[in-house]
């Protein structure tokens, strides 16, 4: 009785594959389109790095006009931006590769666990370690050191703190998105 039940399932599977084998679901057009994809993906990663580098270096000439920040601060900000971009690519790389490498599901679980841990570590340790001193320094540079307007420095820190809060919320949104995706994949792989 039991064997009959599973034999029936085997027959259903065989019938499904036979039916699909008769179909021309892979045509030349599809194959050509797919072969174009790889190069696009590589250039996408390169573009992200390139844009980050441009933004980092754009802060230098901008600094010349505003005189709001010192060159040291500008250089550190640029370096920090590049460091964060490289770190993000480094953390994402194993996950991006997962689908097309020869990973089994256990490996996928390991990679996703590591990815989630790295993301959490970044949020809990690296972000405060980088951002708190950076925001403090930015406030000092802008509101105190280079304040020639005579406005109360505390008022001048408000736009910086506001910008940092907006940036923080956007960053936290992307953090949650990535971590939740990793979590849901892990939940599917691991026994519930």
């Amino acid at each position: 009785m039991e064997e009959q039940y599973f034999d029936e399932m085997r027959q259903q599977m065989a019938a499904l594959k036979e039916q699909l084998n008769k179909q021309e679901i892979v045509n030349d057009h599809l194959i050509r389109e797919i072969m174009k994809v790889k190069n696009k993906d590589i250039s996408k990663t390169k573009n992200v790095c390139f844009i980050a580098a441009i933004i980092a270096f754009l802060t230098f000439p901008f600094n010349t006009f505003t005189h709001a920040w010192s060159w040291t601060f500008t250089a550190v900000t640029g370096a920090m931006l590049i460091f964060c971009t490289i770190a993000t690519i480094y953390i994402h790389r194993p996950v991006d590769k997962l689908n097309y490498m020869t990973s089994d599901l256990a490996t996928v679980a390991r990679v996703m666990t590591k990815f989630k841990k790295q993301y959490d570590n970044w949020l809990h340790y690296v972000t405060p370690a980088l951002m708190i001193p950076w925001i403090g320094w930015a406030c000092y540079e802008f509101a105190w050191k280079n304040n020639i307007s005579g406005v109360n420095p505390l008022w001048l820190t408000l736009p910086i703190l506001f910008g940092a809060a907006i940036g923080g919320l956007i960053g936290y949104y992307f953090h949650c998105k990535a971590v939740n995706a990793a979590k849901s994949i892990l939940e599917q792989i691991e026994e519930k």
Binding site: L30, N99, E191
Partner: protein, 157 residues
């Protein structure tokens, strides 16, 4: 490059039914199956250079397809460039005997957890416990234990 292109085209054609079956079992509508199917082919193309024939081609294809179905699950709303497939079949809607049979199988399998779905599908395809273990990343002994539990679960459905 030419050699890779030829290999990819051959693999895609030879294993289309395997790839499509995996996508069908991990989805609930035709559009999504097509998205998963295309995404799996894209991932196969991306990974074909790294495939050194250390593992069997069937194992590799199953891994790519399963990983794609798993990671695509949360990317459903992402825009996937659609290339029309020359499919004259809609397994979710057609009323011929084969499509009805496929739906019965789909209904049974789709009630299982993700890894269980993969294991039972590979078993129904006639893979050995060792081969199933290689795809999923567990030992043959573990496969046997899991299969026993899955069969019990299926019988209760």
């Amino acid at each position: 490059m030419k050699q890779e292109e030829e290999m990819f085209a051959r693999l895609a054609r030879e294993h289309k039914s395997t790839i499509y079956t995996v996508c069908y079992m991990f989805s609930n509508d035709e559009d999504e199956v097509q998205d998963l199917f295309q995404e799996t082919l894209i991932n196969m193309w991306k990974g074909i250079k790294g495939f050194r024939e250390e593992s069997k081609i069937d194992t590799w294809i199953y891994r790519v397809a399963l990983n794609t179905c798993l990671t695509m699950e949360r990317k459903k709303k992402r825009e996937v460039k659609k290339v029309p497939l020359a499919m004259d079949v809609n397994l979710f809607e057609d009323n011929d005997a084969n499509s009805k049979q496929a739906r019965v199988l789909h209904e049974r399998i789709s009630k299982l957890a993700y890894v269980d779905r993969a294991i039972v599908m590979l078993w129904l395809e006639g893979m050995s416990y060792d081969e199933i273990g290689a795809v999923v990343g567990i030992t043959a002994q573990n496969v046997a234990t899991k299969l026993f539990r899955i069969k019990e679960q299926l019988k209760k459905m």
